[in-house]
Amino acid sequence: MVSSIINRSLDDAERLNPTLNSFLSVEREHAAERLDVLSNTSGQLPLHGYPIAVKDNICTNGMRTSCASRILENYRAQYDATAIERLNAAGAVVIGKTNMDEFAMGSSNENSAFGTVKNPWDIERVPGGSSGGSAVAVASGVVRAALGSETGGSVRQPASLCGIVGLKPTYGRISRYGLVAFASSLDNIGIFGQTSADAAKVLSMIAGRDERDATSADVAVPDYESALNDEIKGKTLGVPRALFADGLDNDVRHAVEGTIDRLKEQGAEIVEIELPNARYGIAVYYIIATAEASSNLARYDGVRYGFRAEDADELRQMYFKTREEGFGSEVKRRIMLGTYVLSSGYYDAYYSKAQKVRALVKQDYQKALAKCDAIITPTSPTTAFRIGERSDDPLAMYLSDIYTVSANLAGVPAISVPCGLSSERLPIGLQFIGDFWSEGTLLNLANTVETIVPIEEKPAIFAE
């Protein structure tokens, strides 16, 4: 029964939320309306009655869309994002909006204005970020799939830390219309799934050209799910050994190396590759992403929507106070960094330089992917860290994204798939990075890892 599946998801979301804090709103009323619509729909839709959780920076008409920020705390979106429109048309039901780092800025979910999300494997640890709420909604068994967003690893890193699949598609694969902008040249909607089949199912429904996002590309959308066959014989996988270096946790290294050996046994050919400029990825990212954010977040001024500071008696003062009171400390840190790198006299030294190194990072991928079908790296250098452990050191937090940011800089697709548990019983993720439009290949590789390195253990907090 469609309604019992949806009601079970809603109940689980509400029951687990006091422990995990992964949802900012559970949308019972909306779900009931959708069930009504579905019951009057003739025939079976591809995602008929499929429950889905959505990150709170993706617009859902009439529902809260706060970006986990005080400045949008009471904002209700006035339209649906294209991805939501397509999910609805396919029969899916949004059951709630998920917690996140404020405006998707963070790698631990500790930057939410509405409290930290807990990792269901160990509630004293972070789920990763910025899409931590969506990752936890899937990892805790509330839904099989969820939407997140990525600017530098915000789907793959929490997927890795929570033991699920996280896909960042090619830039232009999924329309960004209705995704609240952070850094427009890097932003993507991404998908979490309990398995790669779940992610494939959702991707097939939401990918494709949309006239309302000029950067969405007119490239045919295959049925990604039907292409999952675990056939990887003859596939060439590139390993950038130089990146398996300092700061990489031993358990993570072992799990990834072990999985590479297993993939070889399955008939994949392993080759060594080099990504010489990948180590500059974080530096390039924190210039380009903050520059674009400082510009995109200029729209929050207390005039058209969201929070307005009360005690201002003239316009400019109202802007200054609204933004000061409405934004949290990481968001202000990045707005200021972005303002600095774009400011008069510094533009060439920082922003223009970063754009040139970004071109080099992309060239690295083009060269490497000419020699292999996909690149393998760890997704995150460590497993889930403790809440509070890195929150006083922004730079240490930024380095959590060392393996993920460069795919966003290059625009190529990448996927994280669980490949083992650490000695502390925490999930470890492996990342495949592929050429433009190779989502099908990446999903199939991830599916193979699920088959050859299955993880039977469930998180400590799990619905059912």
Binding site: R209, Y280, I287, F320, F327, A359, L395
Partner: protein, 93 residues
């Protein structure tokens, strides 16, 4: 780095305590990103966005026809203050 000046450019009314917190943090991050100066980029064209070749080729021009838009009532419905079909703001000095 003059954090107060940057905050002013960004329209943020930051406090003394924030100036104290952000000054060393931002200097540390800027120090980190300056490692890019070790790379010779004199012959490199800057990469402006994330578009793929297929994305570049995609025609972004749509037919010039009127489509439904939000409408005034909806557009104003989330405003902190709206009156007679306008957004209302404090006086502009």
């Amino acid at each position: 780095m003059d954090v107060r000046k940057i905050a002013k450019l960004a329209h943020l009314d930051i406090t003394d305590a924030e100036v104290e917190m952000y000054t060393p943090q931002l200097s540390q991050i800027v120090g980190y990103v300056e490692q890019l100066n070790e790379i010779d980029t004199s012959d490199i064209e800057p990469m402006l966005g994330g578009l793929t070749a297929e994305g570049e080729k995609t025609d972004s021009i749509r037919d010039d026809v009127v489509l439904a838009s939000l409408g005034q009532e909806t557009a104003l419905s989330e405003a902190p203050s709206a009156v007679s079909g306008h957004f209302q703001v404090p006086k502009v000095l």
